[in-house]
């Protein structure tokens, strides 16, 4: 029932139309690149170089040593020193700094007499995530400084090297420097393909209805299946090329390791492409106008892929109900596979659950796409 001639003619025609349409070319080439940069740089969960203002009320050698510790850390950036509280408050209000550090006037005196010194740190809590990170970093710096002081104090009293009873020798696998970019970039690749893939095919059928070419097309013996496969085939090629482009950018530009096997990457990508291309095609048939179809596909792919795929929020930390919903977001499986392929080099066998999830959606949506189109005008 499938006619190879018709399928090839259909695919060839689609390819010519894509090549000749500047907008399609823009979507195919520019959109993935722009999105890679936007998400690769724009979405960072690392907090580094937090701007700090210091109000050193003592200005002694000791207080300066303490402030220098902050300066030495990559997490802080001591922007400037102020001389009054109002100045500090204004800086926080204006957002010039996120942390205001106040060293009391009796800092060195209390230290010398062995009393406990309280240093004040004021945090801008409008971004609670960076505030809490900043808080723990600040505590860590203060902790390290007190240890140093204690050590010096003990040595001054003629005691030998003190022993710390317990220490954690931490080593992070897969993302040695705990850079969020390393986990983000494989996720971005999945995001980009979810959006671009669906968007691309959402235009194909609607365009024929809008331009009036559909009436002629369905008066020929071509079957709905041939129309669908012929229309999607060029986009599978384009999708594979786009995903590879994103992956290459991830490795060469963003410095993300690729430890897995290329075939695992391609297989999962192919399955995911079937999902997103079928979805876009489905929207295109149902909506009948390019504008409506492209809007539906953007909304239907972008938000779930962004919020519910584990891209931004870890799935295991979601409320149970939301976690349940993530199972019907196909991007979730692809996102997990890509992260594992890139960072861990996992095989299909170890990721079988994600592959099965992806395959189920590929089958369901692929089937829906073959069924949705009717060769009738009304």
């Amino acid at each position: 029932m499938m006619n190879w001639n018709r399928l090839c003619a259909m695919a060839r025609k689609e390819m010519i139309q894509i090549r000749r349409d500047a907008r399609s070319i823009g979507i195919v080439i520019a959109m993935p690149i722009v999105m890679m940069f936007a998400f690769g740089y724009g979405v960072s969960f690392d907090t580094k170089h937090i701007p700090v203002y210091v109000y050193d009320q003592e200005k002694s050698q000791q207080s300066q040593d303490f402030v220098k510790r902050f300066q030495a850390s990559v997490y802080f950036n001591v922007v400037r020193t102020v001389t009054s509280y109002p100045e500090l408050v204004r800086a926080i209000d204006k957002g010039d700094c996120q942390i205001g550090l106040v060293v009391p006037p009796d800092f060195s005196k209390k230290l010398r007499s062995g009393q406990k010194v309280s240093v004040q740190a004021i945090f801008d809590g409008t971004d609670s995530n960076s505030a809490s990170l900043g808080m723990s970093y600040t505590e860590a710096v203060a902790q390290a400084h007190s240890q140093q002081l204690q050590l010096e104090w003990l040595q001054g009293r003629g005691q030998g090297q003190p022993r710390l009873p317990l220490s954690v020798d931490a080593r992070t696998w897969f993302n040695e420097n705990l850079e969020s970019m390393v986990t983000i970039v494989p996720g971005v690749v999945a995001m980009v393909m979810a959006v671009v893939g669906t968007f691309l095919t959402s235009l194909t059928v609607a365009r024929e209805w809008e331009r009036g070419t559909m009436e002629q097309l369905i008066s020929t013996p071509v079957t709905p299946l041939e129309i669908m496969l012929g229309k999607l085939a060029p986009y599978v090629m384009i999708g594979l090329a786009d995903t590879s482009l994103c992956a290459v950018m991830g490795v060469w530009w963003f410095g993300v390791p690729f430890r897995g096997h290329i075939w695992v990457f391609l297989l999962s990508t192919l399955l995911f492409l079937v999902v997103v291309l079928s979805l876009g095609y489905f929207f295109s048939v149902v909506a009948k106008t390019q504008l409506a179809a492209s809007q539906i596909s953007l909304i239907a792919t972008f938000l779930p892929a962004f919020l519910l795929s584990g891209f931004v929020y870890p799935i295991d930390q979601m409320p149970t109900v939301v976690r349940g919903i993530t199972h019907v977001v196909p991007a979730r499986y692809y996102m997990a596979i890509l992260r594992n392929v890139f960072l861990k080099g996992s095989s299909v066998v170890t990721m079988w659950q994600d592959f099965v999830g992806l395959a189920i959606f590929a089958a369901l949506l692929g089937l829906a796409a073959t069924r949705v189109f009717r060769k009738k005008l009304a």
Binding site: A9, Q17, R20, R211, T213, M214, E215, S219, P221, K376
Partner: protein
């Protein structure tokens, strides 16, 4: 034509869209080599009928056999046997001439051995030699229409449906196009064509007049002209044409009156009697008739006398049917078109 099995058989075909009856019990037959014209005002159901015959719309009831195949049950096999040109130009403007041809050759599975010959034939037929590499969107309307015809008949279908193929095309291109239609008919192809150009209707072997989804008359152009008018036709040239029309519509012996150009056409019971009676009738009402004579009806006369245009002009005086008027919205355009054609 005689004794040959019909290629298209339509029996009691009905298409409803909700409450609206677009096609109301149409029956017809067409034979190989016949040019079958569908004539009727816009919205009369011409396109809907053709779309059903092409399997693009599902009939509400009734039966249509195209090339011996039921369009409702085997639309795909029907499509291999037909060529269709829709009302709106519907080739791909962003493909080159040659790419459109190759694409449709692919859609119709034109055998590889035949391909070059058929494409060359279509290019030659459309007069597009040397323009194969042009983008289709850049072609003038006449070329586009001929290319569309070429694409639709690449697979040598025995039946061709052309839905207003010459609308928006210049007169020379229309002429060329009709030559192509005649050539196809000579080769035994059944050609269905809808039009509202009266001069084109004259080129058809057989005409069906459709109005509000119903066939109101059918036959050869000659038969229609001779038989479809009840009575004789008079041409009246006079001053105050509008007033004359109003007065004459109720006059004794006059069954119908309509404006044609700047004159009136009257349908009367008997020409001999009416010529003098009408003259006196008008004079009595202060209208000067400069010329009254019997004329042979044109297809336009037939068209006007048989379709709703005329009935509406008479304020539905005879109240012939009580169906709603929604399908009359296009009729003023049809009147305008008719008048324009006459004036040219």
């Amino acid at each position: 034509m005689n004794g040959v099995a019909p290629t298209v058989v339509v029996r009691d075909l009905v298409k409803r869209f909700g409450d609206f009856v677009a096609v109301d019990n149409i029956s017809l037959e067409a034979s190989p080599g016949e040019i079958f014209g569908f004539l009727g005002p816009n919205g009369a159901g011409k396109s809907t009928t053709i779309r059903m015959l092409c399997g693009l719309l599902r009939p509400t009831s009734g039966e249509a056999l195209v090339a011996g195949l039921d369009v409702a049950r085997e639309p795909e096999r029907v499509r291999q046997n037909i060529g269709y040109m829709s009302q709106k130009f519907s080739l791909y403007n962003d493909l080159k001439v040659i790419e459109n041809l190759r694409f449709f050759a692919g859609m119709y599975s034109v055998p590889a051995a035949d391909l070059k010959e058929r494409i060359d034939w279509a290019i030659d037929m459309a007069g597009l030699s040397g323009r194969e590499q042009l983008l289709t969107g850049t072609l003038a309307a006449g070329w586009k229409q001929r290319l569309a015809l070429g694409c639709a008949v690449l697979h040598r279908p025995p039946i061709v449906f052309l839905d207003e193929p010459t609308s928006g095309v210049d007169p020379i291109s229309r002429r060329l196009f009709w030559e192509l239609i005649h050539r196809m008919a000579d080769d035994g192809v059944t050609v269905f064509v809808t039009t509202h150009y009266m001069d084109e209707a004259e080129y058809c072997n057989r005409l069906v007049l459709i109005d509000r989804g119903r066939i109101v008359a059918s036959g050869s152009p000659l038969e229609l002209k001779e038989k479809s008018m009840a009575g004789d036709l008079l041409l009246v040239e006079c001053d105050q044409v509008g007033k004359a029309l109003e007065e004459l519509q109720g006059a004794p012996g006059v069954t119908d009156a309509a404006i044609f150009g700047n004159a009136l056409h009257l349908v009367v019971d008997s020409a001999e009697r009416a010529i003098t009676e009408v003259k006196e009738f008008l004079t009595a009402r202060g209208i000067e008739a400069s010329r009254i004579e019997r004329i042979r009806p044109s297809l336009e006369d037939v068209f006007v006398s048989l379709t709703s245009l005329n009935r509406d002009n008479r304020d539905n005086r005879d109240n012939r049917d009580n169906r709603d008027n929604r399908d009359n919205r296009d009729t003023p355009e049809a009147i305008g078109k008719g008048d324009k054609e006459k004036g040219q």
